[in-house]
């Protein structure tokens, strides 16, 4: 090994504390990058494999009822490869141990063999016997939520008749990777379950012999999806087609796609911050090494080493640190990716998830860190080797200090020597001080980002359920019922108030834009369900015209006063023009609202309702739910708040996981920056501090000069960090915005406090570590040396 390389290794060992701190910061950046990227990739491939193996359809449509012969006509449409028809029906379930009724979705399955497309994946048990009454497969999420096993029984109200379902097995399907009840925003595995039942049994129970009410297709390679959807809608219209849609509107698919997109965003933003901070740290550390080794560089040049050789030497030093960081980062990233993939796999219930690490991701991560690191040091090395050796051999000219700003203001009377030294040091090199402070501020900002998700989701839930949707339960009917049904609901003891709504499936068109959704007709005066802007302002409901959610208005590019085309997807399938009367700036979904009276007019039908919001007197819920279970017209009872709480339990676990990574990484950054700054300051000012010790300063006094400076920089950094954190959250909330959710920009005081405390602690710990160095200053040798 050459002498220069030996020097490199020993220099590295000498600065091992700093090297490890910097490597750790780099490692965090790479770890997040690799962790998030590989999780993204693993989930993406798991979903792809699942889709392929179970032949996931590409176009879907529900309809009222069509004879089986229609399927043949659909199969003959250009662009269609395969077709599967199904009977899908909602049922009300009485689940042991669950007070409120649950909702089941029964899906028919071929009596014999597999369907051509959209097969289910049997996990345990067996397929139901088509000749036996009431045998079903249950979807895994609902089954594991209730601990259902083969042979267990559930009571269901099917088509107004009570029937007992017998579970023969547990299965899963790529169509229901997440199961979300229609009209709900959150998965509720406790109260919503998917079941598969032999077709023959379904036909008998729902009087659907020779007919179907749900269809799914796959397309040929060259098919144009929009065209197939158009043709399919036309074919199904006489049978009451409810509007065909592609993958982009498939609930489960979209939910996971959004999640994957978010994961992708998360694999870009935080690593960029981390690597940026690491580059900064490397730059600071290297500049210091170079100025400490000024004479060594001069000597090397005197012996005839070229600038390039010296540059490579220090480049090698930095590369070694980056390499260490890369190795740490890769290992940690793989661990993180594995645990995140496992977590998501459980959350989404893929039948098999193999953690895959793409070597391109690893190499990409390592290259990224080298780029960041070397970018940070190139200028430092270039400056160092540029000086004439003779000039480098002389000690640096004494830095010129001047009285600080505060002293010039005449406040020096109040300052003893130590604070003066601190202030002058800060004012002499404000850029360096600012960069150090900025590094600490970034750590603070990352800590804030770490808790942002929790704050935002908590706010979202409070907003949605305490202010906006104040009902205790949402009832939906199998089909539209006359308005007088309200009074029978009001007669149930324990129901305090009832507010009706009517939901109508429609397709909006505005210019070239279109969107399939539904219009919610509501009464003008409401207490339970309010239309609120994100700032809490209530949006008034006009007599006429539509209120669009801001996301829907964006999709349609429609503004207040514009006229949109409404294509009703049920009944007479009326086509109307309606004015946009308002936009509600809400947090989730693509809903639209209308006055129920004008909606009824639009439909040219007598007033009906499809559901109602109710509030229940405290303590009466058991009785109310019992009554509701026995009301055959009711298809479902959703307890949104309970649902969300259930969802949050599992979500919180995931969140905690991510938060843990975030907090650990932010601590490493905070520690890395503060420790490095302190080490650099100590080596820069060792002589000065030793001199102070010689003339009689105590260790404590000397430490207070050095650590006082750091404390000052840390204190300044915290408010800056708050601002950085806020901006990052704002950026992330915009970047993560999806159609389903818009993330409110909310940060609670405890989040700020947490960030400040962690940064303070990190500063304290690194200060104490460096303090040990101050205590061991060698006064004699420091003064004797040539510098």
């Amino acid at each position: 090994m050459s002498a220069l390389n030996r020097k490199l290794i020993r220099d590295l060992l000498h600065m091992k504390g700093q090297a490890i701190a910097i490597a750790a910061v780099i490692g965090c950046g790479i770890a997040i990058f690799i962790g998030a990227q590989s999780t993204h990739w693993s989930l993406q491939s798991a979903r792809q494999a699942y889709y392929e193996r179970n032949r996931f359809p590409e176009v879907f449509s529900s309809l009222k009822r069509a004879p089986n012969s229609i399927a043949g006509r659909v199969r003959d449409l250009p662009g269609v490869r395969s077709v599967v028809t199904r009977i899908v029906k909602g049922v009300t379930l009485t689940v042991p141990g669950l007070e409120e009724p649950a909702v089941g979705k029964l899906i028919s399955y071929p009596d014999r063999g597999e369907p051509v497309i959209s097969t289910v994946h049997l996990l345990t048990g067996r397929f139901p016997d088509p000749l036996r009454n009431g045998e079903v497969l249950v979807e895994e999420a609902f089954a594991s939520e209730h601990g259902f096993q083969q042979g267990d029984k559930i009571d269901a109200v099917m088509n107004g008749r009570l029937q007992t379902l017998t579970i023969t097995g547990v299965a899963m399907s790529p169509e229901y990777i997440t199961t979300i009840q229609p009209g709900s925003l959150w998965p509720d595995d406790k109260r919503f379950g998917i079941f598969w039942m032999p077709r023959r049994q379904m036909e008998a129970a729902f009087e659907m012999e020779g007919a179907f009410n749900d269809i799914a297709l796959t397309l040929t390679g060259n098919a144009i999806e929009e065209e197939v959807i158009r043709l399919l809608d036309r074919t199904l219209a006489p049978s009451g087609g409810l509007g065909a849609y592609g993958l982009d509107l498939h609930y489960s698919h979209r939910f996971i796609s959004d999640e994957l997109t978010q994961l992708r965003t998360m694999s870009i933003i935080p690593p960029t911050i981390f690597l940026g901070v690491a580059a900064f740290l490397l730059n600071v550390a290297l500049r210091r090494i170079l100025s400490l080794q000024r004479e060594q560089i001069a000597a090397l040049k005197a012996f005839g080493y070229s600038n390039r050789e010296i540059g490579f030497h220090y480049g090698g030093l930095i590369s070694a640190i980056i390499a260490l960081g890369s190795i740490l980062g890769c290992l940690l990233g793989i661990y993180m990716g594995k645990s995140m993939t496992a977590m998501y796999a459980e959350f989404y219930r893929f039948p098999i998830t193999v953690f895959k690490i793409d070597f391109r991701i690893l190499i990409g991560g390592v290259c990224l860190s080298f780029l960041a690191g070397l970018a940070g040091v190139v200028s430092a090395v270039r400056n160092a080797v540029r000086i004439q050796p003779a000039e480098a051999m002389r000690p640096e000219p004494p830095p010129s200090y001047e009285p600080s700003f505060i002293e010039r203001m005449g406040w020096h009377r109040f300052l003893s020597q130590a604070p003066r030294m601190i202030l002058r040091e800060l004012t002499r090199r404000p850029a360096k001080a600012a960069l150090t402070s900025l590094g600490i501020a970034f750590a603070c900002g990352i800590l804030i980002v770490g808790n942002f998700g929790k704050d935002a989701v908590t706010f979202l839930i409070d907003f949605q359920f305490d202010l906006q949707q104040r009902q205790d339960a949402t009832l939906t009917f199998y089909e539209a019922v006359p308005i007088r049904a309200i009074s029978s609901l009001k007669h149930i003891d324990g129901i305090v108030s009832v507010e009706p709504f009517r939901s109508v499936p429609v397709r909006f068109r505005h210019g070239q834009f279109s969107r399939q959704t539904s219009i919610m007709g509501v009464k003008e005066k409401r207490e339970l369900f309010r239309l609120l802007n994100t700032d809490g302002q209530e949006v008034p409901l006009p007599d006429d015209g539509l209120i669009l959610s801001s996301a829907l208005a964006g999709i349609l590019s429609a503004h207040i006063g514009d006229t949109v085309h409404v294509e009703v997807l049920e009944g007479e399938r009326a086509k109307r023009k309606v004015k946009v009367a308002g936009v509600v700036d809400d947090f989730s979904g693509t809903a639209s609202y209308m006055n129920i009276r004008s909606l009824n007019r639009l439909m040219s039908e007598p007033p009906v309702l499809t559901g109602a919001w109710i509030s229940i007197r405290d303590g009466s819920s058991h009785h109310v739910f019992q009554e509701l279970k026995e009301t055959p017209a009711i298809a479902g009872v959703t307890l949104q708040k309970v649902a969300v709480e259930g969802f949050m339990d599992s979500f919180a676990e995931n969140l905690l996981h991510m938060r843990m990574f975030n907090v650990v990484f932010a601590c490493i950054i905070a520690f890395g920056v503060v420790y490095n700054s302190a080490r650099v300051a100590l080596s820069e000012r060792g002589r000065e501090l030793a001199t102070l010790r010689v003339i009689g300063f105590t260790r404590g006094e000397v430490s207070s000069i050095l650590l006082g400076e750091l404390a000052f920089l840390t204190v300044i950094a915290i408010p800056v960090g708050f601002a950085i954190g806020y901006s990052l959250c704002l950026f992330i909330s915009t970047a993560l915005e999806t159609e389903l959710y818009r993330i409110p920009m909310v940060l609670n005081p405890p989040t700020f406090a947490f960030a400040a405390v962690v940064v303070g602690l990190a500063a304290l710990v690194s200060g104490l570590l460096v303090r040990r160095g101050i205590d061991h200053l060698d006064m004699v040798s420091v003064l004797k040396s040539s510098e």
Binding site: S2, A3, L4, R6, K7, R10, D11, H14, E295, Q296, A298, A299, L300, K301, A302, F303, G304, Y305, S306, N307, E309, Q388, P389, A390, E391, M393, R394, P397, P398, S400, S786
Partner: protein, 240 residues
């Protein structure tokens, strides 16, 4: 080198000046210096601190450039040298010894010498160079484990290991006591005699001038006098 009777001219400097700007102060270190150095001779540059001797040496060694004037090394004008040529010149022709040794603290004595032998064209073995300065038994010690005299001898070994044409020593004994200083000077003397290396030694200690072929005195950036010694004393005979 060649067969001419007079020794060949190694350095020739004409009307050198040098101004330093140190922080906010300007220092005129050289004010018109003319000097010649010949093959195999040992000269001593004498002068008080600030007289410009280090500046002169640094310019000769290619570590610094004059503000005005010209320097020729074996007939080539050094101001024409590019950065790369200056580097090659130092690498191939010049050995340096500094007052504060400038050893790399993270390398052992042997490794410090190897630092130079690894890049030189026709070097000695580091062990041989260290033997020349009588440090065979300290080869694997780090600078922090050696006395000042020993460190300076490592520096000399490092300077001569490349078998340079010229050896430039800036206050080689400045930080040393008498006894160790003598040892260091012996080492330099040895190199000059045995290898015939043209040697320039800077000092403010006039006793050392007794070992030189010629003594050049500087005062305030100018040459005060140049004397030739009739009797040249061995380093071991010096005393101060």
């Amino acid at each position: 080198m060649d067969d001419s009777e007079t020794a060949e001219l190694v350095y020739e400097a004409r009307d050198l000046t040098k101004v330093y700007h140190m922080g906010e102060v300007s220092v005129q270190a050289l004010r018109g210096v003319d000097i010649q150095l010949y093959e195999s001779e040992l000269i001593v540059l004498l002068g008080h601190s600030g007289s410009g001797k280090s500046t002169l040496l640094n310019i000769l060694g290619g570590l610094d450039v004059p503000s005005s004037g010209e320097v020729f090394y074996r007939g080539s004008r050094m101001s024409d040298f590019s950065e790369a040529e200056l580097t090659r010149y130092r690498r191939e022709h010049v050995g340096f010894v500094f007052q504060f040794y400038n050893l790399i603290p993270s390398l052992t004595a042997r490794e410090n010498v190897a630092l130079v032998t690894e890049i030189a064209r026709d070097p000695m073995k580091p062990e041989d160079a260290l033997a020349l300065v009588d440090l065979t038994n300290r080869m694997d010690h780090f600078p922090s484990q050696m006395s000042g005299g020993e460190q300076q001898r490592v520096a000399i070994a490092r300077a001569i290991a490349k078998q340079p044409d010229v050896l430039l020593c800036d206050e080689p004994t400045g930080a040393l006591d008498l006894e160790t200083g003598i040892k260091v000077l012996e080492a330099i003397d040895n190199v000059n005699r045995e290898l015939g290396t043209t040697t320039a030694v800077i000092t403010h200690n006039s006793v050392i001038s007794d070992m030189a072929h010629r003594v050049i005195r500087l005062l305030d950036g100018q040459i005060e006098s140049i004397e030739e010694n009739d009797v040249i004393r061995a380093a071991s005979e010096l005393n101060w």
